[in-house]
């Protein structure tokens, strides 16, 4: 089975590096980290991810704007997006991911088990 391609858009290089390391070390995933939000579209067109992990609060362009640009692109509009956010409390997510409208949010700091579970659910769909 081909490894799943995950694009991580996140301004904190430590987060992108640790996500790449942990997801790839277990096998089954290829991860590309993008720390500059405005460059997401280019990165996604080249990388063609199966899923995008997108930080909500970023300095130059926030996660909502990036998602709008991705949805407007015919090549990428169907790629599932999981938002990573520090601004939801445990009570709102029960410590797990939670769909809010059409979007899926994963509360930081997510651990590997939780993260993989969320990725698998969305990659299956």
């Amino acid at each position: 089975m081909n490894p799943k391609r995950i694009l991580v858009v996140e301004d904190e290089p430590g987060v992108t590096r640790s996500l790449k390391l942990t997801l790839e070390s277990g096998g089954g995933y290829v991860v590309l980290g993008e720390n500059d939000a405005p460059n997401t579209l280019n990165a996604a067109r080249t990388f063609r991810p199966d899923l995008i992990l997108l930080d909500v609060i970023m300095p130059r362009l926030d996660g909502g704007d990036v998602a709008a640009r991705l949805r407007a692109d015919p090549l990428l509009r169907d790629t599932p997006i999981v938002f990573l956010t520090a601004l939801v409390s445990s009570e709102e997510t029960d410590g797990h991911e939670k769909s809010k409208g059409a979007e899926t949010f994963l509360a930081k700091p997510a651990d590997l088990v939780e993260l993989k579970k969320t990725l698998e659910e969305h990659l299956r769909g």
Partner: protein, 387 residues
């Protein structure tokens, strides 16, 4: 009036008759003053004058009838004129007295009326003033409430901003640490200590994250999702959530539930949060083997405010060391804690207070006479006008 005049003239005739019969000049003549005084007093100056003139006539008539003779015809005429004049002077004096009395009475009556009117006006003015004072007091209280709400809202807004900033700045590095720990945990450890250390680090990340979540919950409470609930179910569920720590501390749980209390109108998850917090606080305040009593009772409708709905009171008693009197007024302040560093965020009771407040209920803490502390919570029932 004619009857009165007739009676007066009759009495004059009677006096004249006595005058004629007795012939005592001076002594009897004084009797004429009686009908004159009476007439003037009762009917006024004109009637008095009339009675005086008739009396003078009667006096002279009685004299003539008695057959008295005078040396010169002018003498009886002169006497009669003198007598009539004396009587008329008496009438004039009495009439003046009567008129002065009447004038005085009128003046007193006029002044009394004017005083009464002034008093009524003063009473009305007092009433208006009292009403205005009440309105001012009400407006002042309203202003104070609005001011308090504005200050609270401003405080909450800055707290929410601060919490969001902290969450963003702290949770990103925590995410890196958490994933890093996972990476090490997935590799075979070199020894048992390393595995334990990695696990401890992972738990430390969780704890730090929990503190941030508590801060977020406090600073930005989400809207309530209220349903009508049996308060006993919520208490039982909350006791289930803390049964392990309670049993580790050998805490005895006593339930004193009133089965007749009404269903309450609340956000179940958030009220469970309040109870869990209170139960854990109670447990931490007691030495092992303490007793936790949870009691429910109906609250009286009104409570000073007639519009307040009936509700349910829940009391949570512990057998611990109680709360220092100096701390009683501060226990609901954010970040106030008496626990050792690292064992409490100081936000638990502040959040419980906020949750009860947004439910329109209340929470207060007190020391029990028997020892230990009591938390008293007031819940409202479902509003009747809810649509």
């Amino acid at each position: 009036m004619p009857v009165r005049v007739g009676l007066l003239l009759g009495s004059v005739a009677a006096v004249g008759w006595v005058d004629f019969l007795t012939g005592f000049e001076v002594s009897v003549s004084f009797l004429y003053l009686l009908p004159i005084a009476l007439g003037t007093r009762v009917a006024g100056r004109s009637v008095g004058n009339l009675v005086a003139l008739v009396s003078a006539g009667a006096w002279r008539g009685a004299d003539l009838l008695a057959g008295h003779t005078y040396g010169y015809w002018l003498i009886p005429l002169w006497d009669t004129l003198m007598f009539a004049s004396t009587l008329l002077v008496v009438v004039a004096l009495l009439a003046s007295l009567r008129e002065a009395n009447e004038g005085l009475e009128q003046t007193v009556s006029r002044r009394t009326q004017s005083l009464q009117a002034e008093n009524a006006q003063r009473r009305r003015a007092e009433e208006d003033l009292r009403q205005a004072l009440g309105d001012v007091r009400k407006a002042q209280a309203e202003l104070r409430r609005t001011q308090f709400q504005l200050i609270e809202a401003a405080k909450m807004e800055s707290a929410a901003r601060l919490a969001a900033g902290i969450a963003h700045e702290v949770k990103n590095p925590l995410m890196t640490l958490s994933l890093g720990m996972d990476y090490f945990l997935n590799r075979p450890p070199e020894n048992a200590d390393e595995a334990q250390l990695t696990q401890d680090m992972k738990e430390a990340v969780h704890r730090a994250s929990d503190v941030i979540n508590v801060l977020l919950d406090y600073a930005r409470p989400r809207p309530l999702e209220r349903t009508s609930e049996d308060i006993h179910n919520i208490i039982e569920q909350s006791l289930t959530l803390v049964r392990h720590p309670l049993s580790r501390q050998h805490v005895t749980v006593v339930r004193e539930f009133d089965p007749m209390v009404s269903p309450v109108w609340l956000d179940r998850t958030r009220i469970e949060h309040v109870f869990v917090n209170l139960f854990l606080n109670a447990m931490q305040a007691m030495p092992p083997g303490g007793t936790l009593t949870v009691r429910t009772l109906p609250s009286e409708p009104g409570g000073g405010d007639n519009d307040a709905p009936a509700g349910v009171i829940v009391e949570v008693d512990d057998t611990g060391h109680g709360i220092m009197p100096a701390n009683l007024s501060r226990v609901f302040e954010p970040f106030f804690t008496t626990k050792p560093p690292g064992q409490g965020s100081g936000l638990g009771l502040a959040i419980a207070h906020k949750i009860m407040e947004i439910h329109g209920g209340s929470i207060r803490l007190s020391n029990r006479n028997e020892g230990g502390a009591r938390a008293t919570l007031q819940f409202n029932t479902e509003p009747k006008d809810r649509s």
